[in-house]
């Protein structure tokens, strides 16, 4: 900066000028921040968790059907009753898969409000 060499008065004036420009810049940054919605790290994290939960629910459902199918197939092979047990256990396996999904979803919801209720249990409005 040129002002720094030329004595005190000019230096002080430059300082003031400089501060003014700094304030302006601060204002402009503030405006720009307000205009563009920021993606906070918390948001990305919760999105990652939601994806994890979705995958977890999907595997629970599929694995239930798979295990039921394998049990039915094994019983059929052992007893020679194909396809009786395969059909029965596929249905039972699907039921088990849905049961698993319900339990997993319930355990995920412990901290949130109850399904179908907008208000928490503490709110009393009648």
């Amino acid at each position: 900066m040129a002002g720094a060499k030329d004595g005190r008065n000019k230096g002080a004036r430059d300082d003031e000028h400089f501060r003014q420009r700094l304030d302006e810049l601060g204002e402009r940054i503030g405006k720009a921040r307000g205009a563009s919605p920021e993606v906070t790290p918390v948001d990305a994290e919760s999105r990652g968790r939601a994806l994890g939960q979705a995958l977890r629910l999907a595997t629970e459902l599929v694995v239930g059907v798979g295990v039921g199918g394998v049990i039915g197939w094994g019983l059929d092979r052992a007893l020679g009753t194909a396809p009786l047990f395969l059909v029965v256990f596929l249905i039972l396996g699907s039921a088990a898969g849905i049961l698993n999904v319900m339990r997993t979803a319930a355990s995920m919801q412990v901290k949130g409000p109850l399904p179908g209720k907008d208000l928490g249990p503490d709110d009393d409005d009648d």
Binding site: R56, T59, G64, G66, A96, N100
Partner: protein, 258 residues
């Protein structure tokens, strides 16, 4: 196909993209046969040994001298201890603390394997379902044994849901048993599928970067940078989920409620 042709196919010729599944190939490093079984020392075994060695060296070196005001490395070791200790205490209760060493070892092992897999040219052991299934099957058998040892034959009550009319019971007990049997499979499939899908994606997009070259390669490269970060998160998260589900299963066996 001879070895060279196979190698060429794996890395892609001039026209084709490299095979994204090539990274999961098991290679025999020291061929070995025991009692008619193929017990070769493979790249998978090598990375398990590396993981176990790293964890042992890390915990011993970090806690060497055990200062009251921890050094940086010591506080990392202490945080991982506290993290798992709290997890066990919250999910199993103080009576579960006798199983803490196992849960801690399990978490550190899976975490180390997942993280080692994130390094270029390394091998991801947890992307093989037989490895994750062996871990999950051991946990399942151990937890079931603990349940029977703790409650005797009364552990079977775990499969009888409360407050159900007697007519429905046979059906529901079968469903409960199937649901119990799905545990080792869902535990192992979750870890294996996450790791394998992530690494395949990385390889596919890595191939796009090379194939599109200097002109178009930047878009997949930018995606790769973000996705690698996500993969590191997944590597940690899946180790965490594996450990916490083990805690939950252990809690079921010890205290018998859903």
């Amino acid at each position: 196909m001879d070895a060279q042709a196979a190698e060429e196919a794996a890395h892609g010729g001039a026209t084709s993209l490299p095979n994204p599944m090539h990274q999961f190939e098991i290679k025999r490093l020291i061929p070995l046969e025991l009692f008619g079984f193929d017990a070769s020392f493979t790249n998978s075994a090598l990375f398990m040994v590396i993981a176990a060695t790293l964890i042992t060296l890390f915990t011993i070196y970090a806690m060497w001298g055990g200062k009251l005001v921890p050094t940086r490395l010591q506080s990392v070791a202490e945080i991982s201890y506290e993290f798992i200790a709290n997890m066990v205490r919250d999910n199993v209760g103080t009576s579960g603390m006798q199983y803490f060493p196992f849960i801690f070892t399990l978490f550190m092992f899976v975490l180390a394997l997942n993280m080692l897999g994130m390094m270029p040219y390394s091998f991801t052991v947890t992307s093989h379902i037989i490895v994750t299934f062996a871990l999950a099957a051991f946990i399942f058998l151990a937890v079931t044994a603990i349940g029977f040892l703790k409650h005797g034959i009364g552990f079977l009550k775990f499969f009888v849901p409360a407050g159900v009319p007697a007519v429905m019971l046979p059906l529901l007990v079968v469903i409960e048993v199937i649901s119990y049997l799905t545990r080792p499979l869902s535990l192992s499939v979750r870890l294996f599928a996450n790791m394998m899908a992530g690494h395949t994606m990385l390889k596919v997009f890595g191939a796009f970067v090379v194939a599109l070259g200097l002109l178009g390669g930047w878009a997949p490269l930018a995606f790769m940078v973000g996705f690698t970060g996500l993969e590191i998160l997944v590597a940690f998260l899946q180790a965490y989920v594996f450990a916490i589900l083990t805690c939950i299963y252990l809690n079921d066996a010890l205290h018998m409620h859903h």
